[in-house]
């Protein structure tokens, strides 16, 4: 075709535009990194490097949990276009189920958590089938309201079944009271294992989505519902898979943090706020963005609480709100979210 050359020019024109956007983004990232380095140097100069690194690692603890929860939120957002407000309480309920398996039934904690993840996945599949699928997937408001209702139901059900007294949740990891030192900071082995577990979980989720047929269906449905139907994908079942996967990831996050926060029907609500912030910052439709932003949010929480006196521990949750508002104002698609460009 003689139009090929012309077409090529147009396309490469598009690429150079993308390059320019890329350079601008790189510059922004460089500015942010420079500001962070300066702040870190000031922090180290004032309070010493040990405290600084201790806070960095403490930030990582929460950060990884926020990453996992944000990942769960993004999975459902990508599938349905809806923020699942019940995600925290689904994780809470799942963690209680792990608790029942581990403490009441005496199953080894690691297996109890895996079993609890499977149970939550099944439960979420049932919830999707009975409460979500009857609604038109394009009716986002209705589905959002359903997730709010689900939040209340799960929360009060947990209250009725297990009561509101905080319970200690066992850790699945060995060396539970031992720690090691890095850069003068003390790190518990339990925490190190938590980070590794979540990293492995994130890796498995991304393999599942990118290398399997059901993953292809999931990505296809999140990209274009109608076209997915036209290639014969069962949209309902695919969304159900998304809910199940999100619930399993949420339960994992819940049972990994319950060891430090104690378990009660409201223990995930604070975590959920930070995870919302992380999902927003990462760009609601970016899985990798959610993971990175989760860690950023964890650090922001710990650093602002630690170094800015008037924020302290009590005001720290407001940093999550500040992040959400600022991101929505300045960059609604988040750090890594896709800005939709329609081509005709």
């Amino acid at each position: 075709m003689s139009a090929a050359g012309n077409l090529n020019e147009q396309v490469s024109g598009g690429y150079s535009l993308l390059d320019r956007i890329g350079k601008k983004r790189l510059r922004n990232i460089a500015i942010i990194v420079a500001v962070l380095v300066v702040l870190s140097i000031i922090a180290i100069a004032n309070d010493g490097s040990e405290l600084f690194f201790q806070r960095v690692f403490d930030g990582l603890n929460n950060g990884f949990i926020y990453s996992a929860m944000a990942l769960a939120l993004v999975l459902i957002y990508k599938a349905t276009g809806v923020v699942n407000f019940a995600q925290g309480d689904m994780a809470m309920f799942g963690t209680f189920i792990c608790y029942v398996y581990a403490v009441n039934m005496g199953i080894p904690v690691g297996f109890a958590i895996l079993l609890g993840m499977a149970t939550s996945a099944l439960g979420a599949a049932v919830i999707e089938r009975t409460l979500i699928r009857p609604f038109d997937p394009r009716n986002h408001l209705a589905i959002t309201i359903v997730t709010l209702g689900l939040l209340l139901v799960l929360n009060s059900m947990a209250g009725v079944i297990w009561g509101y007294d905080p319970r200690a949740f066992p850790t699945p990891f060995p060396n539970r009271n031992k720690s090691f030192h890095l850069f003068g900071a003390q790190i518990d082995y339990t925490k190190l294992y938590t980070w590794i577990t979540i990293l492995v979980a994130v890796l498995l989720v991304s393999l599942l989505l990118n290398k399997t047929k059901i993953g292809l269906a999931f990505r296809s449905v999140s990209s274009n519902l109608e076209s997915s139907e036209l290639v014969g994908i069962h949209v309902g079942r695919t969304l159900q898979f998304g809910w199940a996967l999100a619930a399993a990831v949420g339960t994992l996050a819940g049972s990994l943090i319950a060891n430090t926060t104690f378990l009660d029907p409201n223990f995930m609500s604070r975590v959920l706020i930070y995870s919302f912030a992380a999902a927003t910052l990462g760009g609601l439709d970016s899985l990798g963005g959610a993971v990175i932003a989760g860690i950023i949010i964890g650090e922001v929480e710990t650093m602002s609480g630690g170094y800015i006196a008037f924020i302290g521990g009590t005001l720290a949750p407001t940093t999550a709100l500040v992040v959400i508002v600022v991101v929505l104002l300045i960059r609604p698609s988040g750090l890594f979210g896709s800005k939709r460009v329609e081509r005709v």
């Binding site: 075709m1 003689s2 139009a3 090929a4 012309n6 077409l7 147009q10 396309v11 598009g14 993308l18 047929k213 292809l216 269906a217 990505r219 296809s220 999140s222 990209s223 274009n224 109608e226 076209s227 997915s228 139907e229 036209l230 290639v231 014969g232 994908i233 069962h234 949209v235 896709s338 939709r340 460009v341 081509r343 005709v344």
Partner: protein, 251 residues
């Protein structure tokens, strides 16, 4: 419109070798009925073109076949009624639809788009088919790792067609494949349709504004007007029909 060579339509029974036969098809968007009784059939191996002005109901006809709008009337595909089935079900029975605006999976790579097209297949020749379409459309091979949303219009149309054919459908529905494409690219694309039809016997139902081009490769054609079939005939008949010539061919 006067029908001189073509015949005014009221087909009561479609021929026995029809792959798709539609009669008394009504379709509505909410309260508004867009099709008021459309009749047509497509035989195995045929290319049939649906002509009509804007708003005549061409796109709705294709959407109705795939059950993407609420429909009444009879739609029989491959011997079985598909009225009231789900879109997914219709696709699984072997109808591949390239919607208007192409409907590529913008956030997926070119490769993944083609694999998604083969979603319903369980055989082991999927990879070989991907390679086959890369041979037919070499430009797609160059862009295989790129997100479909970043392709040019023509490339996206190629991808949409290749993706639809990845399912090895019994029938291909094409909705305005020429829309927004440069004339030279459109000609190449229609040449491809003709080749595919001749080589693999792929049955096609094409909705097209560019009547000249469409009639060149078509066996038969229908003319829709205000939600009804008003005229049918072989492509040659319609090309010489005075009404069609004035309204759609422009000479």
């Amino acid at each position: 419109m006067t029908a001189t060579d073509g015949q005014a339509v009221h087909e009561s029974s479609a021929p026995a070798d029809s792959l798709l036969s539609v009669s008394g098809l009504r379709a509505s968007y909410g309260q508004i009925e867009a099709l008021h009784g459309v009749d047509f059939h497509v035989r195995r191996g045929e290319i049939v073109v649906v002509l009509g002005a804007n708003g005549a109901g061409k796109t709705t006809t294709l959407r109705a076949v795939c059950q993407m709008v609420s429909t009444k009337g009879s739609i029989v595909f491959d011997g079985q009624s598909i009225t009231g089935k789900s879109t997914t079900d219709v696709a699984r029975r072997g109808v591949a639809h390239v919607p208007q605006g192409r409907g590529t999976l913008a956030d997926l790579s070119v490769d993944d788009n083609l694999l998604a097209g083969a979603y319903t297949r369980k055989d082991r020749e999927v990879r070989a088919d991907v390679d086959k379409w890369f041979t037919v459309f070499p430009r797609l091979r160059e862009r295989r790792a790129q997100l479909a949303g970043s392709l040019s219009g023509g490339e996206q149309q190629m991808l949409a067609v290749a993706r639809a054919l990845m399912s090895r459908p019994k029938m291909l529905l094409l909705d305005e494949p020429s829309l927004g494409l440069a004339p030279i690219i459109v000609q190449g694309l229609f040449q491809r349709f003709d080749d595919m039809n001749k080589a693999d016997g792929t049955t096609m139902l094409i909705v097209e504004q560019n009547a000249n081009l469409a009639l060149d490769i078509a066996d038969r054609a229908y003319v829709l007007e205000a939600g009804e079939t008003v005229l049918t005939g072989t492509a040659d008949d319609l090309r010489h029909d005075e009404g069609v010539r004035k309204a759609y061919l422009g000479y």
